[in-house]
């Protein structure tokens, strides 16, 4: 008799915990939110126009309808960039077969990182150039865009490679809202980011 109560409690507990896992809260929309005449306006990635490694112009419309992870780097960066790139490669491999997901890496050193240099770089990573975009363009424009991704970067002649910057990987949804981010140098944090990506994909599936 007693034993059956224990079993029953266990069963209920398992059931309840499964339920709460299913009804996870949706990922927040990060950044400054404005409420205007009853409408909620979320932070959105601003207008941009850049060149890909294939010298193709890429703007917001090319990424709307996709969820994407984004980072900022430069080819001659001797410190955190290779480690972050390795994590981006991990994300690439995990979502390689999912057509809803793209990766977007922006260079902070457009003078040296021209489309053809970035093309070689991407070739050496052995990736699909339409799934993983490497973007370059006007320097001031890129440094403006980085603010929308909450990335800090400054030129600093004392720093190794000449630029100090942060190495976050940012998750952007199909409408250009920032939904999550991770420290790109920390494989555990990137693991959590993958969970968030999976959750965001599920949100779109169930809608």
């Amino acid at each position: 008799m007693k034993l059956s109560i224990v079993y029953l409690t266990l069963l209920i507990l398992t059931y309840v915990s499964c339920q709460s896992a299913q009804t996870k809260h949706p990922l927040p929309k990060l950044g400054h939110t404005i409420i205007e005449q009853g409408d909620t306006i979320y932070h959105t990635i601003g207008q941009f126009n850049l060149l890909s490694q294939d010298s193709v112009q890429i703007g917001n419309s090319d990424l709307s309808g996709y969820i994407y992870v984004s980072d900022f780097f430069f080819m001659n960066c001797p410190t955190i960039c290779p480690i972050v790139m390795k994590q981006m490669l991990r994300l690439y491999k995990k979502y390689e077969a999912n057509p809803s997901v793209k990766l977007v890496s922006h260079t902070l050193d457009p003078k040296r990182d021209t489309p053809s240099a970035l093309k070689q770089y991407a070739n050496n990573l052995e990736i699909d150039h339409t799934k993983w975009l490497f973007l370059t363009g006007d320097k001031e424009h890129i440094y403006d865009i980085k603010d929308d991704y909450f990335i800090a970067a400054v030129e600093d002649s004392e720093a190794p490679g000449g630029i100090t910057h942060s190495g976050q990987i940012i998750l952007v949804d199909k409408k250009g809202h920032v939904r999550s981010f991770a420290e790109g140098t920390d494989p555990m944090k990137v693991e959590h980011l993958m969970e968030d990506i999976d959750q965001l994909l599920k949100e779109y599936e169930s809608n």
């Binding site: 080819m75 290779p82 770089y121 050496n124």
Partner: protein
Amino acid sequence: MKATRLKFIFLAFVVFFFFSCNEAKYMQGKRTYDMVCADCHMEDGSGVKNLYPALKTINTSITTSELACIIRYGINKESSLIKMPPNPALKSVDITNIVNYILGDLNGSKEEYTLNEIEVMLEKCKEASKEQ
């Protein structure tokens, strides 16, 4: 009772030391490697595809003297997409430790190089770099 407790503590120590010794044979080399090489070639030597070559499988691809010279002088070839920076601040002792760590711990090689041997190799590539 007391005796078994002591035995247990002794055993725990043995196990602990066994595992801590097992970590890396060349700790000094590992420390320097983690500081000056791991950002690009990764802590485990796995590299990043063809951008930053893996160093845990170099047993056969380059000679030990090439390895020592690359550590000191870097790589700055015409064909290099990304250059590897030189390490003028590393002393021959540090380079010997890194070489032994890469070959011994990352590649599982049994060979071990002495400071003397590495210094001879470094002297040779110093002359070679002068000739150019």
